[in-house]
């Protein structure tokens, strides 16, 4: 029994180490990036600059949380950028038409619109049994097309929006921007749900072995549907916040966000084949990607290199993940043969 206990402790240390190191790695990369940029351009770490950094990353982090839920189930949602666009314009359109509209209602409608879009994705994936890649590629274009039809070339400007709304995008509570607070609350809520609640754990099971989950009595379709609805709802929330932060919205809001968001999740350690990863990692990934972009701008690096840097980061993250996975598997197998040999 003591041998087992010792072995158990060792295994626990190993798994814990891996989980922690994955997120610590991003934190370390972040620290390195900020330090180097600060040495080259001290203004980079002025309060205002850091504040902007956090603000920019917030919306991406919220979307990355939703994306993580979907990716964990071995699916993907390419339509989040388009959903954000729809909901951003909805919020802008409603408020510029009626300045006195209750803000919670605006948020509710934006989130509801996103959830409805997510529901459509989820229904097509689960009941329609169409691969998520194809479904959400289709809705990426469909939702964007809808936005163009609806806006009809119009644009919402900050002057037409009530100040109380725009303040959400710029004000702080106790020195922390409201946007950042919202993102933090969402990350922690969803993170805990994934870690400590049955439906959250079932998402991991579905992604790890879809057929096995079904045989174990997991209601897979229902869970996947919920993941898509949540991803849509969070994209809807992101849309309302987008309008609050930038004030100017047209039909192209959020174009291309989906790829940045997926990149953030993958950099943050969410395996694209499902089954592993946390929203904390994904949110840190979003922060890292945002920071790289900002620091390259501050350092006046050309736009082309910014793109290339993000691409390189993605490849490094994937390569490291693969390396770690191979190492762990080898370690686990060694331990097994040691036990068998006893």
């Amino acid at each position: 029994m003591t041998a087992v206990a010792v072995e158990g402790a060792r295994a626990r240390r190993l798994t814990e180490w891996v989980l922690r190191v994955r997120e610590l790695g991003i934190v370390a990369a972040l620290a390195l990036l900020i330090t180097v940029t600060a040495i080259l351009e001290p203004r980079f770490i002025e309060a205002n600059s850091l504040r902007n950094l956090a603000l920019n990353a917030s919306i991406f982090a919220i979307l990355a949380v939703g994306q993580t839920l979907v990716i964990i189930t071995r699916n993907v949602d390419l339509s989040v950028g388009s959903i954000l666009g729809l909901s951003a314009f909805l919020a802008g359109d409603l408020l510029s038409g009626n300045q006195d509209m209750a803000l919670p209602l605006v948020f509710l409608l934006g989130i509801g619109l996103g959830a409805a879009c997510g529901l459509l994705n989820g229904v097509l994936v689960t009941w329609g049994q169409v691969p998520a890649l194809v479904v959400t590629l289709g809705t990426l274009y469909a939702f964007r097309g809808l936005a163009f039809l609806w806006t009809d070339g119009r644009q919402v400007n900050a002057e037409t929006l009530p100040d109380s709304f725009l303040n959400i995008g710029s004000d702080s509570i106790a020195g922390i921007p409201i946007l950042v607070l919202i993102a933090l609350v969402i990350v922690v809520l969803v993170g805990q749900w994934l870690r400590d609640y049955r439906p959250g754990r079932e998402l991991y099971a579905i992604g790890s072995n879809p057929e096995g989950a079904r045989l174990a009595g997991v209601r897979s379709d229902r869970r996947v549907l919920v993941a898509f609805i949540l991803a849509g709802a969070l994209a809807g929330l992101g849309g309302v916040l987008f309008t609050a932060r930038f004030g100017t919205v047209d039909a192209t809001a959020g174009t291309g966000y989906e790829l940045t968001v997926i990149a953030a999740a993958v950099v943050g350690g969410v395996a694209i084949f499902g089954g592993t990863g946390t929203v904390y990692g994904a949110a840190l990934g979003a922060l890292l990607l945002g920071t790289i972009t900002s620091s390259l701008i501050v350092l006046r690096v050309e736009a082309f290199w910014q793109q290339a840097a993000i691409g390189a980061l993605l490849l490094v993250a994937i390569a490291l993940d693969k390396l770690v996975a191979v190492r762990i598997e080898a370690a686990l197998r060694r331990r097994r043969s040691a036990r068998r040999a006893d």
């Binding site: 295994a11 400590d196 609640y197 991991y204 096995g212 989950a213 079904r214 045989l215 174990a216 009595g217």
Partner: protein
């Protein structure tokens, strides 16, 4: 070893009456009739393809029966999902792996039913304590916190069993739970099964090992060709009876093996070994001879064939074709030496479903059909038409995708593809699985004809009638070892099954 007393007149916890299930044109289950009562351990036996696993899946809510009736405590029920079956107190250990490699052993065991504490949060401490208790009961010191990825097959099986035991099941169904376990682990499992039985659970135990059936079961149900054909207390049946009931089929004139002149050895397999799969396998196949490799699924037959052809590399031993030693692990060299290999899964390994019949049939002769790197369509069609005629292929147009053909005709295209290389040795893995009876006879006729022309044939088959009808010689494998060699005259169903299951001494 005596089964605990149970009341045979009591209301069955779960009963299945006349259940049937078809997959397309294949009737996997024709008449599933079974009753499970509190405190009984019932064995379910039958040949491969007899419908055992389908019956299990119906009981487990994985597939829905087409017809028939299911009763739980006398009331008609209908399971729409595995969840429903579980709610009805039915736990199933399936043959297929159902584990989540990324998650911890503990979470694998309790998935969907995690113990919960305050605010509905998962209580990890309780979870680990429960799972630890289960693993202790099974006597296997596994750390419940490590991920399942990297566990041995045996340990994975233990986790599957722990999963089934993790809730208060009133019915426990085990589809070959012992296949990957060692002796002491099997004993521990049996101890757990007996304890459950004493607590009043009903257990359905599926195994190919008849000694295990005798050791643990009180009653036995025998299935054959998708139907339950016999049901009796274990005391009323000897292993010989069980074997007879499992087979119990007349050998018709379906298998027209002609006598062929047996020539020189074409294939010599010398002490071939692949660590953990098969050990020290030696045999030869002569020109004009059909040799069958019989045994249960998982005995290592397909693996031997794959090693001969060089898909998997053998750890020791070697293969000779007409006296020339083949390099290990080189399928291309095996092809050049004259081996043709028709794999078990023709959809995945034998055909390119979207390509035309003609292209598939001539794939192995591509080089001979090209000029300056371009395929000559005329030559391709001529060769394909020639083979189609010789094999009596039924098709609409040679340009149709091969996926349009029926299973039997697809198999003929695979054969054409390989026969076009003019091989000396033809290896067939389950040549007639999933093929209708008529086409089956044609495939058999063809095999016989090819042997008559001096081709050496090595056939792997799980269908005993096919083995006995077609083979000049039968080799039997069990758990990676060659356990029997029977001439055509010696070979009968009982002898083959004895050698395959290890019941009694081979006569």
């Amino acid at each position: 070893m005596t089964p605990a007393a149970f009341d045979p007149a009591s209301e069955p916890i779960i009963a299945l009456r006349g259940a049937s299930k078809s997959y397309g044109a294949v009737r996997a289950l024709r008449d599933g009739t079974l009753e499970l009562r509190a405190g009984e351990v019932r064995g379910l036996i039958g040949e491969n393809g007899a419908g055992k696993s389908t019956l299990v899946k119906v009981l487990g809510g994985v597939v829905r029966r087409d017809d028939g009736e299911m009763l739980a405590n006398g009331e008609s029920v209908d399971f729409h999902s595995p969840h429903d079956a579980r709610d009805a107190g039915i736990a199933v250990i399936y043959q297929e792996p159902t584990l989540f490699p990324d998650l911890s052993i503990a979470e694998n065991v309790v998935m969907g039913y995690h113990p919960r504490g305050a605010l509905g949060r998962i209580d990890r401490r309780t979870m680990h304590r429960q799972v630890h208790g289960l693993l202790d009961r099974l006597g296997v010191p596994l750390d419940s916190d490590r991920p399942v990825r990297g566990l041995s097959i045996a340990d994975q099986q233990i986790v599957e069993i722990a999963k089934a035991l993790s809730f208060d099941a009133r019915v426990l169904i085990m589809d070959e739970p012992t296949a990957a376990l060692s002796g002491p682990e099997v004993e521990r499992l049996f101890a757990v099964v007996r304890a459950l039985q004493e607590q009043g659970a009903a257990i359905l135990f599926i195994s190919h090992r008849l000694d295990e059936i005798q050791a643990i079961c009180g009653t036995v149900t025998v299935m054959r060709d998708g139907a339950v054909v016999h049901d009796a207390p274990i005391g009323d049946m000897t292993p010989d009876d069980m074997v007879r009931r499992m087979v119990g089929r007349e050998l018709g004139a379906l298998f027209p093996k002609q006598d062929a002149r047996i020539g020189e050895p074409v294939l010599k397999v010398h002490r071939l070994t692949r660590e953990g799969v098969f050990v020290d396998v030696s045999f030869e196949v002569r020109a004009g001879e059909i040799v069958a490799l019989a045994g249960l699924v998982g005995a290592g037959r397909s693996e031997v064939a794959r090693a001969i052809f060089g898909i998997d590399r053998a750890d020791a031993g070697h293969v000779e074709i007409s006296g020339t030693r083949l390099p290990a692990g080189r399928p291309l060299a095996a092809m050049r030496a004259g081996i043709a290999f028709v794999p078990e899964d023709r959809r995945l390994q034998g055909l390119v479903m979207d390509l035309s019949i003609a292209r598939n049939a001539t794939l192995t002769r591509m080089r001979a059909l090209t000029r300056l790197g371009l395929i000559r369509a005329g030559a391709e069609n001529r060769l394909a038409r020639d083979w189609a005629e010789r094999l009596r292929l039924r098709y609409h147009r040679l340009e149709d995708p091969v996926g349009f053909l029926s299973g039997g005709n697809q198999q003929k295209v695979v054969l054409a593809k390989w026969l076009a290389t003019e091989p000396k040795l033809l290896i067939l893995d389950e040549p007639t699985r999933g093929i209708d009876v008529g086409t089956k006879a044609e495939v058999h006729r063809l095999m016989s004809e090819l042997a008559g022309r001096g081709l050496a044939v090595l056939m792997i088959s799980s269908e005993l009638p096919e083995v006995l009808g077609m083979a000049d010689r039968v080799l039997v494998m069990r758990e990676g070892l060659l356990t029997g060699e029977l001439s055509r005259e010696e070979a009968d169903e009982e002898r083959v099954i004895r050698a395959a299951t290890g019941v009694g001494a081979a006569a």
